[in-house]
Subunit: 143 residues, 2 copies
């Protein structure tokens, strides 16, 4: 999906460039979430089935913008528990589900470039760019 | 302070008011931070002394923007350990210090409207507005 799908109105703000299409969201009962409660938030597939959960968020230190979610897709891929770094724009918070929704398919995840803490590639912008290109979303750094 | 007082150079960017201006940013060594490592990040005063640390961040679920930091100012106020909810725009990431800098004074903190988890006021926009007004920063929801 393109970030252009954002059609939110009112106080949800736009905030986004890369992401987080708000849909028609108005203020949810609890529009904010505490960082230490994010871990474990459920992720749902396009058909609303539970496919995983958020391990952690990657936050740009300066701007305070969440740019990636590291998501564990247990079983979803038939590969056991495995974590993938997903651009934030690929997740949409769904107030009804109480979690994030994504249209990622197992095949998409299988073929995705890796990006993670193990090899310090959080600081490798070329690899970040590859990841965004792969998923078809604009880089969060706006270039 | 107005966020305009930010005088960092290079890759620290500008950081703030409500938003995420990328400024002239190039890549810092580690521009991203993991949500589960944010807790405990140091907060420094205008004179670079350590005055507290981040308990947690409050993140807008939909946009993924960090909007508040809940900061413990141990001893800084002469009141023992106490937490305050501070608009994100009052903190500026300082790459040299490896933490966030703020010009908040003890008096400012003492007089601040309270906002926190205990009374579910995360969902009370009027109280959020009061807090932003008090600190002289624009509300993150852009109204």
């Amino acid at each position: 999906m393109a970030s252009a799908t954002f059609t939110g109105t009112g106080d949800t703000g736009s905030g986004l460039s890369t992401g987080a299409p708000a849909g028609t969201a108005t203020t949810s009962a609890h529009p904010l979430i505490e960082s230490d409660r994010v871990e474990g938030t459920s992720v749902y597939g396009a058909d609303n089935t539970h496919i995983g959960s958020i391990d952690r968020l990657m936050i740009e230190k300066v701007s305070g913008q969440v740019v990636y979610a590291v998501v564990s897709f247990g079983g979803f891929l038939g590969l056991g528990e495995e974590s993938f770094t997903v651009p934030w724009g690929k997740l949409t918070y769904d107030t009804d589900l109480g979690g994030y929704k994504t249209d990622l398919s197992p095949d998409q995840l299988r073929g995705a470039p890796s990006l993670g803490r193990d090899d310090a590639d959080w600081s490798d912008r070329d690899r970040e760019r590859d990841l965004h290109t792969y998923y078809g979303v604009s880089p969060y750094w706006g270039l």
